[in-house]
C-alpha cells in the first residue's frame, strides 16, 4: 500500500508540470491585457507599455514561463499583478471559507443523503421511494442561488435567525463562524444530497441482487442487517467516489454560493482573477486545484479497500 501511495504521489509531478505549462500558455493566448486593466480604459499606448515593462510582461513568453517555474520550485507563486499581494497569502486567506463550506456541505450531505438513499432502495417502488426520488429531482433542478435567496428571505430577513452574508474565521469563536455557514451549507447541500441519495439508492439496488445478499437472507439475517452491513458496505465504492469528487469541486468551484452569501472563498478568487487577467493568481489557483483533485482521488482510492476488501493494491 505504501509503495502504491508513493508511486501515485510521484505520478503527480509530471501531471502538475503539464498543468502548469498548459495553464501558462492558455492564459497568455487569451485576449486581455493586465496593464490595460490596471491603468484604465483611457490609458495611452505608451503608458500601457511602461506598465507591461514594470511587470515583466514585455518579455518573451518562454522567458516568463522559465522565470515563473524557477520561482515555483522555490515555493514562490509570485505576486498579484493588481494588488502586489503574494499569491500564496491570497490563497491562504481564501482557503478557510472554502474548506469550511466544502466540509460543512459534505458532512450535512452524508448525514442526510445516505439514509435517504438506503430507505429509498429498501422501499423501492413504494410511495416513500418515489417521494425521495421526486425531491431529489427537485434538489438537482432548483438553482443554488434560488435556494439561497429563499433561505435568506425567510430565515434572515423575515425571521432574523442568521446573518445574510459574510464569514468569520473559527478563531473568532464557534458560533459566529457556524451561524454564517448555516445558510450557504443548506443551500449547497440540496444538490449534493440529491446526487448522493440517488447514487446510494442505485448502488444498493444493484448490490441487493447479488448472491451474497441472498446468502445473508438465507442465513436468517434481518433486513436491517442485510441493508446496512452487507448491501451498504458493498455499495460504498461508487458513493465514496462521488463524495470525493464532490469535495474537490466544492473547494474549487462554488462561485455562485460564495457570491450570494458573500463568502470570500477560492471560487470567487478564481473568477475575480480571470476577469482581471491576474495571471500569477490564476496560475497559482489552477495548480492548487489540480493538486487537490489528485490528492482527493488518491485518498478515495486508498479508502476503497477499507470498504471492499476485494480491492487490493
Amino acid at each position: 500500500m505504501l509503495a502504491y501511495i508513493a508511486r501515485r504521489l510521484l505520478a503527480t509531478i509530471p501531471v502538475m508540470v503539464m498543468v502548469a505549462v498548459v495553464v501558462f500558455a492558455i492564459l497568455r493566448l487569451t485576449p486581455g491585457d493586465p496593464a490595460a486593466i490596471i491603468a484604465g480604459d483611457d490609458a495611452t499606448a505608451e503608458q500601457l507599455e511602461k506598465i507591461r515593462q514594470s511587470m515583466g510582461l514585455d518579455m518573451p513568453i518562454h522567458l516568463q514561463l522559465l522565470q515563473w517555474i524557477s520561482r515555483l520550485l522555490q515555493g514562490d507563486l509570485g505576486v498579484s499583478l493588481l494588488s502586489g499581494t503574494p499569491v500564496l497569502s491570497m490563497i491562504g486567506d481564501r482557503m478557510g471559507p472554502s474548506l469550511a463550506l466544502a466540509l460543512g456541505t459534505i458532512v450535512v450531505t452524508v448525514i442526510i443523503a445516505i439514509p435517504l438513499g438506503v430507505v429509498a432502495a429498501w422501499k423501492r417502488g413504494k410511495l416513500l421511494d418515489r417521494t425521495i426520488m421526486t425531491l431529489s429531482v427537485l434538489g438537482f433542478s432548483v438553482p443554488v442561488f434560488v435556494v439561497g435567496y429563499l433561505l435568506i428571505y425567510y430565515l434572515s430577513i423575515q425571521l432574523g435567525l442568521f446573518p445574510v452574508q459574510g464569514y468569520r474565521p473559527l478563531s473568532e469563536g464557534f458560533w459566529p463562524f457556524a451561524q454564517r455557514l448555516v445558510l450557504p451549507v443548506l443551500a449547497l447541500s440540496g444538490v449534493y444530497v440529491a446526487l448522493i441519495a440517488r447514487i446510494t439508492r442505485s448502488s444498493i439496488i444493484e448490490v441487493m441482487g447479488e448472491d451474497f445478499i441472498r446468502t445473508a437472507r438465507a442465513k436468517g439475517a434481518t433486513e436491517r442487517i442485510v441493508l446496512l452491513r452487507h448491501a451498504l458496505r458493498n455499495a460504498a465504492v461508487p458513493i465514496l467516489t462521488v463524495i470525493g469528487i464532490g469535495i474537490a469541486s466544492l473547494i474549487s468551484g462554488v462561485v455562485v454560493t460564495e457570491s450570494v452569501f458573500n463568502l470570500p472563498g477560492l471560487g470567487r478568487l478564481v473568477v475575480e482573477a480571470v476577469l482581471a487577467r491576474d495571471y500569477p493568481v490564476i496560475q497559482g489557483l489552477i495548480l492548487l486545484f489540480s493538486f487537490v483533485y489528485i490528492l482527493i482521488n488518491l485518498l478515495v482510492d486508498v479508502l476503497y479497500p477499507v470498504f471492499d476488501p476485494r480491492i487490493r493494491y
Partner: protein, 532 residues
Amino acid sequence: MSTKFKAAGRSKAIGMGAAMSLAAILAAPASAQTITAVMQSGLRVMDPVVSTAFITRDHGYMIYDTLLGVNEKFEIKPQMAEKWEVSEDKKTYTFTLRDGLKWHDGAPVTSEDAVASIKRWAQQDSTGQVLMTMVSDIAVADDKSFKVVLKEPTSLLLESLAKLSSRPAFIMPKRIAETPPSESIKEFIGSGPFRFVASEFKPGLKVVYEKNKDYVPRSEPASWTAGGKVVNVDRVQWIAMPDQMTPVNALLNGEIDFIQQVPFDLLPMLENNSDVNVEVLDKLGNWTYYRFNHLHPPFNNKLLRQAAMHAVGQDDVLKALVGNPKYSKTCPAVFGCDTPYANSYGQDIVIPSNIEKAKELLKEAKYDGTPVVILQPTDLAMVAAQPVVIASALRKAGFNVDLKTMDWQSVVTQQGNQKPASEGGWNIFSTYSTLATSGNPFGNTTVASNGKKAWAGWPDVPEIEKLRLEFARATDEAERKKITAHIQKLAINEGVVGPLGQFSVPAAYSKKLTGVLASPITVFWNIKKSDK
C-alpha cells in the same frame, strides 16, 4: 418600525423573540462607530496615479489630501494649501501649505513632498501632461511654499490641481512620490482624514480605514472635495460583494450601513423601507456615449457616422440601461448638461431616433454593406445594454451589424487595437464616464481629436485640437464657454463621440447615518452614526 418586524407579524415576532434578539446581537457591527460600506467594486489597485479606476480614486480621497478642492459651485478652494499668490504677469503661482499638516507616520508635510507628487501625477494624467507643456519650472521656495512658473498664463494649473476625478492630484510623501509612475507605490501613507489599515487589507474583499486623529480639518463647511473634512467615526470599512442582491439584503438586515450604487432593478426593495435612505449623492451623475473607429471603413466616412448618430435614439438607450426616468435624462452635450459648459447643439441629431434620415445618409454615402463590428461587454451592467440598442437601430437603418459579445476586460483590450475589425479591431464600442471627469475639454478624453494619439476611435480633427489649446490658454470664463460651444458643434458634426444620455445611480444608507454629503465623489467625512 423595521421591515423585519412588519413582515414577520406580531405573533411570529413574539414566538421568535429569543432567537431574534440573539441574531440581532450577533449581526450587529463590532462597533457603533464603524461605518460598513459596500462600494461599487473591490479595491485591488492601490495607486491612484497608476489607475483611473473609481474605487482607487475613492481610496485616494480617504487617505490622501489635495492641494486644492472644488465645491458644489464648481469653485476652486484651498485644501492643503493655506493660500496661493499670483504674480502680476499671471505666470508665477506661489502656493503655501497650511500649518499642522502631517503624514500618517507623524512626519510633517513639506513643499518638497507636494512638488514631487505633482511631478509624478503630471507624467501620468492627461490634463497634467498638457499642463506640463505650459510649465517652465516647479521649484521649492521653503519648507512650506513652492512656486510654479508658467510659460504663459493659464487657468489649467488651478483646475488640474483641484481635479475632482481620475486622476486627482493627490499629495504623497516625497520618498513615495519618487516611484516611477508606471510602477505602483508600495507604501500607503497620506495626510488625509483617514489612515489605511494595512494589516486588515484583503485585496478585492475588504479595506479598513481608521480616523486620522492628527488631521486638522479646514474651518469651512465641507462641500465636495473642499472645506473641512471632519471625521466623526472611528473606522470605515469597505466590503466587496460580487452579487448585487447581497448588499441590499445586508442593508435590510442591518449588517451594513451604506451601498454606494444600488442597481436600478433592486431599488423598489429599498425605496419604501423606513430604515433606509435612497438618495442620489452624485448629482452630476454619468454620461454614456459611443465611439466610432475613424481609421477604417465604414466609419472613416463622416456621412456614415452621421447616419448612425441619426439612427440611435437616446430614449431607447436610457430605457434599456436605466428604465426609470427619475434617474436618467437625454442630453446632447459632450461636456454634460447642468455643467458650466453645457450646450444643446446637436439635440436634433443625437436625441431622437430618425431612421428615415439615417437611411437617406446611407444612400448618399453609397454604403457597401461593410460589416459594423460592435463590442458588447456582457459582465458589466452599466455598459451591457447600449451596444444592443445601437445594433438594433443600425440594423433598422440598413447597416450590416456584427455584435461581438465578450467580457469588459476584453473590450478594454480590444478597443486599443488600431487594426481593421477583420484583424481584431472594431467599429463601435460604448462606455460611460462620470461627469465629474468629463466637464471640460481636458478632463473629457473623448473630445481629444489628435488622430492616432487620441483615445480609442482616433478622430483626426485639427480644429478641435486648436480649440483645446485655446481653452487651456483662456482665462476668461465667457471666452471658454464660446470655445467649448465650438468644440461641441465640431464633436457632433464630425462624429467624434456619440452622446447617449445621462444617468445617476442612487446610493442607499441606513438612517443611523446622518450628514452624508452629496458629492460627485463618495466621501465618508462629515458622517455621524447613531447607535439606534
